[in-house]
């Protein structure tokens, strides 16, 4: 368990040098861990996942992957790049960005094809995933014509087919119906049981407990304000309220309406 895969120390990042997105993040991720990253909109969750996927690099602070400092020029070496991309997979928050091929099928097999996976193997993985996610009917359609939920399923498939050891997921269940959400969570749990490391960003407090054993809470100041086990974090109402993570619902009881915040955890089975 204590075999660190990613180590971020005091990482800073800003877009175009002007829009700060992370202000001093420390995270250590070990092999086989399940991590959830929660926080309000714009607090830097996606930025963090892009750093972990080696797409952008911290301006300040250090980022070590697999025990070595990761720099942009490392990716100029074809063997390193291929190895890293095989090991780490990211599901983007916006599926429109992730799906760029003319058909769903081509999009799904894009990753393994680039990474030199053998044809028969690609076909086998494709069939397995199509069965699990129930997307057989979509294969020949252009991705831009799917519904948002369908797009997300295809995007998830296009990353899972690479069979990475480390899965980064940016709000994987946003816009999915309950049954599909269930199916994705089961997939993640299964993947974790088989030894994969899973890092998920989400707003959905329902799923946090199932998909994580460590939760990091981001504050609007784009820092990690607290981390701990899901029980502890979800019980801290003040913390959740301060970070825009609590639903405030208005209910009507007979003729009186009243407003009270709750976390929805009571519906959770």
């Amino acid at each position: 368990m204590d075999n660190p895969i990613f180590e971020l120390q005091d990482a800073h990042f800003s877009y175009l040098g002007r829009y700060p997105a992370l202000r001093g993040i420390d995270i250590t991720v070990c092999q086989g861990e399940q991590i959830a990253v929660i926080g309000a909109n714009g607090c830097g969750k996606s930025t963090l996942l892009h750093i972990l996927d080696g797409l952008i690099f911290p301006e300040r602070g250090s980022f070590k992957a697999f025990g070595k400092e990761l720099k942009e020029d490392a990716f100029n070496r074809a063997d390193f790049s291929r190895d890293f991309r095989k090991k780490v997979g990211l599901v983007f928050q916006n599926p429109d960005v992730q799906l760029f091929c003319p058909t769903v099928k081509e999009d799904i097999i894009f990753g393994p094809l680039q990474l030199g996976v053998e044809k028969g193997e690609i076909q086998r993985r494709l069939e397995a995933l199509v069965g699990v996610l129930n997307i057989g009917d979509l294969l020949d359609r252009p991705p831009q014509q799917l519904s948002i939920g369908e797009k997300r399923k295809v995007a998830i498939a296009s990353t899972l087919i690479i069979e990475p050891d480390i899965l980064l997921l940016d709000e994987p269940t946003a816009g999915l119906d309950p049954q599909t959400t269930r199916c994705i969570i089961d997939l993640l749990i299964q993947a974790n049981e088989s030894g994969k490391t899973i890092i998920t960003s989400t707003h959905d407090l329902h799923i946090v407990e199932e998909i994580s054993d460590t939760v990091y809470v981001f504050s609007p100041e784009k820092k990690i304000i607290k981390s701990g086990c899901p029980h502890e974090i979800l019980a801290d109402e003040q913390l959740l309220r301060d970070n825009n993570l609590l639903h405030i619902h208005s209910h009507r009881h007979r003729d009186k309406s009243h407003i009270h915040p709750h976390t929805h955890l009571e519906h959770h089975s």
């Binding site: 983007f92 960005v97 760029f100 003319p102 990753g111 680039q114 690479i162």
Partner: protein, 282 residues
């Protein structure tokens, strides 16, 4: 006020739906006809042969014969002939304007005068060789355009792109084409959605100047959005192992029928050339 605004909206929506229908429709490609059943690689090669045959043909009979072959193929592939003729003849005025009409006249094609026109003091004479040449030209253009249109109608867009890649067209070219296609669609949708959103927020009667601003804003927004998308899409490609040269999966399989078709077209091509050389068409 609202009439003019309606006009903008209607014409914009009209253009969008025309674009969607004509560029993105693949209803004919999905039908079960003769051309749809061929291996796309062989189909494309045979269509290139047809178009070459037309380019080599110097006779009216030869081009008419090839045009007839094209129409028969369209019929066998369940393409509605009326629709097909409309689709292809639409190109003719464009070509004739620039090439065929000047060729009609004596300046470019000297010969026996058929008709003389006096326009704005300039004497224009239509000559017999000129007319014949123009007719031949139009026939050849219509035949080759018809083959090109028939190919694109009966082949799914992505298959066409894939075959181009497999036949060795540089990937940067094919990839760019494919992406343009995909994002044009996304943008068409985005403009439509923005319009619906504006309408739902402000009611049907948008003030005209505001309507104009919405259009301008849209264009600026799309520009920024497309730059951003490019960058993000590039990241998404990198993330899945793209390293400058995307691999394509060649999963086409040629059946005996395809080879038969290829040999038939080759034979036809040869016969056509020989007939041309021996002057059978006259």
């Amino acid at each position: 006020m609202s009439k003019r605004n309606n006009f903008i909206r209607r014409s914009l929506m009209g253009v969008l739906s025309f674009l969607k229908e004509s560029v993105f429709a693949d209803e004919y490609a999905a039908k079960k006809g003769f051309l749809q059943s061929l291996d796309p690689r062989i189909k494309i090669i045979t269509f290139i042969l047809f178009i070459l045959a037309i380019l080599f043909t110097q006779s009216m009979a030869g081009s008419l014969y090839l045009y007839a072959v094209c129409l028969i193929l369209a019929y066998l592939s369940r393409v509605s002939i009326g629709f097909f003729l409309k689709r292809t003849w639409i190109f003719i005025p464009l070509f004739s304007l620039f090439i065929a009409i000047p060729a009609l006249f004596s300046v470019f094609s000297p010969g026996e005068p058929l008709l003389s026109l006096n326009m704005a003091g300039v004497q224009l004479i239509i000559t017999r060789p000129g007319l014949w040449g123009a007719a031949l030209f139009v026939t050849r253009v219509i035949a080759s355009v018809s083959f090109a249109v028939l190919l694109s109608l009966t082949t799914k867009h992505f298959v066409l792109l894939k075959v181009l890649r497999i036949l060795g067209i540089p990937q940067i070219f094919v990839m760019t084409m494919g992406m343009c296609y995909r994002y044009i669609y996304l943008f068409v949708e985005m403009i439509e959605n923005t319009y619906t959103a504006v309408k739902s927020r402000s009611g049907v009667n948008i003030h005209y100047p505001r309507g104009q601003r919405v259009v301008a804003w849209n264009i600026a927004y799309l520009w920024v959005r497309s730059c951003q998308l490019n960058e993000e899409v590039y990241k998404a490609m990198l993330s899945r192992g793209y390293s400058g040269e995307p691999a394509v999966l060649n999963d086409f399989k040629a059946k005996p029928k395809d080879w038969l078709w290829l040999s038939a077209v080759l034979a036809m091509f040869a016969v056509n050339r020989l007939a041309e050389i021996w002057g059978i068409y006259g």
